[in-house]
Amino acid sequence: MSTDPLRDAARALAYWERRQEVASHNVANSTTAGYKGQRVFAEVLAGMNAPALVVRDDMSDGPIMDTGRPLDVAVTGEGFLVVEAGGGELLRRGGSLSLDAAGVLVDGGGRPILGEDGVIVLPAGDIEIGRDGAIRVDGEEVARLRMERAAPADLRRVEAGLWVAGQREALPVEARALRQGALEESNVHPLQGMVEILDVQRNYAAIQKTVVMLDDVLDMTVNRIGRVG
């Protein structure tokens, strides 16, 4: 008898373990502003009985929470803000911005947010950020935020809510929808995460039962069949 079914079962167990890792990561980030959940799919490849792991990003919008803080910015439509990090450019969905000691507009990790003319330095005064990314201080426009978009398949995750994209393009002004004084919450619903975890656990247990059963069959084949007396 072939032991292939056992191998397939082992592969399936590994698949559900990965799924559990992703589910844990999602619930751990259910209160991380701007976080986009990961979804795991199984893809059955030709010639393989066990599922292959496919992780996709759920880019749906998270709920918008009003904070009233002038430098909290939520992207309520498509697109990302552009951030300078380590000499390169990364993308992020809005966030809790602030001014550093030199008045440079930075994200939570101190990385400069880029405007159409590069790094944005704001003078003191009442800061107003328009829907289209125009930044006005005391009513006078001083800078305009750069916004870009990328195809979901081109986006890769970096830590801290940052994304890197191979192909990007500027987001046209009419497609921009920034909201000042608000944050985009995580799009992971805790309950959904909980259901996923339960689901994983049940499936994992079911496969384990299958392995035990296969083991029984092997046991019978090896130790009982052919025994005389």
Partner: protein
Amino acid sequence: MDPSIRTAATGMMSQQRRIEVIANNLANVNTTAFKRSRAHFEDLLYQTIQGPGVGGAGLGTTDPVQVGRGTRLAAVQRVQGQGPMENTGRPLDLAIEGDGLFRVQLPDGSTAYTRDGSLSLSADGSLVTHGGYQLLPGILVPEDATGLMISRNGVVTVQMRSAADVIELGRIELARFANEPGLVALGENLYAETPASGQPIHGFAQDTGFGRIVQGHLEASNVEIVTEMVDMISALRAYEINSQAVKASEEMARTAASMVR
């Protein structure tokens, strides 16, 4: 299974920190000029467990598989929103409506900053905070002065018992910072400058970029109990769900171990 237990544990730790921040906010709901803080989280490093590639004949391309490793506390951010004005009727209570902080001198000679303007007079008649720290620049109130008045732009005047006219004693100076949340809290409602806050910019109340001084009022804490309670419920639930994830991962490990009989 270990990675998923650790991942969920990062979620529990983050929520615990969030509760600590909320507890401190709630404890300071009646603290003059207190600014509430807010915990901020970010997702942790992703591990690419399978790079993008092209499968065999007819299999097409495969996307990379990135698995995250949880969350961490990114920052505890002070929310500098204006607190409500509370009328106290006490002439030495000052509130700042708008930007700016009072400057006070610490015993070691360094300068600290505060928005808590509940002042009093020291034994020698100078204006001090309720902690006994001298307001900068020092303003000396003569012994026989009555009717202390502080204008919206910070000019301190008194009426003398001996004379009918009003005497100007000095003008309260304020400071503001490019990045006010970068100030470090010293306790006693005092803040100190840091490299993150930048150098203080001195000026007077009602100058450009500065608020005005309101006599007879104190700025109350900007903590809103309802907001904090809602945040606390959210943190508690998130903590519970992460602990369930830990439990489920542990259960799976047990299931795996039970395959060997």
